[in-house]
Symmetry: C2
Subunit: 118 residues, 2 copies
């Protein structure tokens, strides 16, 4: 993830509806969610969710694939991980004060680290 992509990702996540969409898709996992289901959850019009989904897709944070009549959207884990990495490494130069809290979170969710730290 380079600076250009990071700028686009930050812009994409700076809008409430879009942030909600990403959170829902991360929780939904690899199966993803259909545009209509997202629209219902987020409580916006089909037209509106389509606009924001296209915006997110263009930023690379989510991906789309047609499945019968529905279009299924999934979170693009690599990009999200890349954004976290960019923020810690490229933007913040790996400053311990900034990355320390991230290490705590990482320790709680990555199995390998649980072993070494607990």
């Amino acid at each position: 993830m380079d600076q250009r992509q990071a700028l686009g990702a930050f812009a994409a996540l700076s809008q409430e509806t879009r942030l909600q969409i990403v959170r829902l898709l991360v929780v939904a996992g690899p199966e993803g969610m259909a545009a209509g289901a997202l629209a219902e959850k987020v409580e916006v019009s089909p037209s509106n969710i389509s606009f924001h989904l296209k915006e997110l897709e263009h930023s690379g944070l989510i991906a789309a694939q047609r499945q019968s009549r529905s279009i299924i959207y999934t979170a693009h884990y690599e990009s999200l991980g890349g954004l976290v990495r960019f923020l810690m490494e490229d933007c913040c130069s790996g400053h311990p004060e900034i990355c320390a809290p991230a290490a705590e979170v990482a320790a709680c969710c990555t199995p390998k680290m649980e072993e070494t730290l607990r």
Copy 2:
């Protein structure tokens, strides 16, 4: 860092000039940089840098303090760390696929983790 603050932080970082400012201030450390020095580095007008600095200050990512004639800006490490944490924990629900790359970065910059992982 709650969602409202995160949205503001993402918006603040989605602009090239502002992202550059944050990067410069993180590298500058606790001593920070004066508005004029930042304007020179980033190559924008005093008026323009002032606009973006105010935007960043309002988002909580940087702080300002007058020192004689200059106004010194510093990166607010807590907020930046909070943003990384929000992205990993609140937004991405601690998904290993997303947090794993962050763990690598964290391992490289936090002294305690270097011992346990190398």
